[in-house]
């Protein structure tokens, strides 16, 4: 059974939900504490949503210096799949594992709603299970989800096919080019603002469209 680490920082909130999603997808979730530095036996890592350290300075800014992050950064460098969801995406940007930054929503409110997305890249470790161009509905919930990057970075993201998902039917936060998620050139590190882990059970979410992120990585790891 494939073991996927789910990191808990002080202030993480969706860690148990990410673990549930891994379980429903057929994997074994392994809780990791932010002080852990040993990832033995962990084949993929999820940085979950929440407000790490209250996100009082900037989202993800303080969590990025947690002991576990050094290990995550080196694992990412070795190709270990890493998924940052919401706060996790923000941490990945602060850690420079992904380019750009996430800033205050343009309307200045926290927003929680069911959001339609288009999967732009099915080549990442976390999206192979989707058809390119597939439209899915998963929850978005954030106060600082507006992705920004300089024009060169944006051109590169576009040109190299590194945009993983875009918002459809209304951009919830003013994100540039409707970007909802991006990946690194190797495709193992993905940052995503919306929450696939909250769309894995029709009883408690808008549907099961999010499950594909977790089944994708599990299938990839089994094959590898």
């Amino acid at each position: 059974m494939t073991r996927i680490g789910v990191v808990t920082f002080p202030g993480s909130l969706d860690d148990r939900d990410a673990a549930r999603a891994v379980r429903l997808a057929g994997g074994v979730p392994v809780p990791l504490w932010h002080r852990d530095t040993d990832l033995a036996g962990i084949e993929a890592i999820i940085l979950p949503g929440g407000f790490s350290y209250g996100d009082y300075l900037r989202t993800g800014a303080i969590a990025r210096f947690s002991p576990v992050m050094e290990t995550v950064i080196s694992a990412a460098g070795r190709g270990v799949p890493v998924l940052g969801i919401c706060n996790g995406f923000q941490i990945l940007c602060e850690s420079h594992l992904l380019p750009g930054a996430l800033t205050r929503n343009n309307h200045l409110h926290f927003i929680c709603r069911d959001q339609r997305l288009r999967i732009e890249s099915a080549r990442t470790a976390w999206t192979t299970g989707y058809r390119p161009g597939a439209e899915i509905v998963i929850p978005v919930k954030n106060g600082e989800g507006r992705y920004v990057a300089d024009p060169d970075t944006l051109a590169r993201l576009d040109g190299d096919g590194l945009v993983v998902a875009r918002y459809l039917e209304g951009n919830p936060n003013g994100s540039v080019a409707d970007i909802a998620g991006i990946t690194n050139p190797a495709g193992n590190v993905v940052g995503l603002m919306p929450h696939p882990e909250h769309a894995v059970d029709a009883l408690t979410g808008p549907g099961t469209d999010g499950l594909g992120f977790f089944t994708s990585v599990l299938r990839g790891l089994v094959r590898a």
């Binding site: 350290y53 009082y56 210096f65």
Partner: protein, 95 residues
């Protein structure tokens, strides 16, 4: 065009969770000489000059400062918990 800067800080006795979080993070990063951090807001405001009645200096520092003080008291600061200072930006203002 004068530029005024309004600094808004929590009153000293009010809990500042942001400052505390930053202070603890700085400590963890090894900045152990830091004894206190307070986090507040900074507003940079550009104010257009106007034709003023004869006898006053046009767009004078006083006028802009007073205007900014008024803005701060009315909107920029929540005077129930915050205090503010206003000054003309040295870089551009009439000083």
């Amino acid at each position: 065009m004068p530029r005024v800067v309004v600094d808004v800080m929590l009153k000293p006795e009010i809990l500042d969770p942001q400052g505390q979080a930053v202070q603890r993070a700085l400590e963890r990063l090894g900045f152990d000489r830091v004894t206190s951090v307070r986090q507040g807001k900074r507003f940079e405001i550009e104010i257009a000059e106007i034709a003023e009645p004869a006898g006053t200096r046009p767009g004078s520092a006083e006028t802009a400062t007073e205007l900014a003080r008024d803005m701060a008291a009315k909107l920029l600061a929540n005077t129930v918990i915050e205090e503010f200072t206003v000054r003309i930006d040295a870089a551009e203002g009439a000083g």
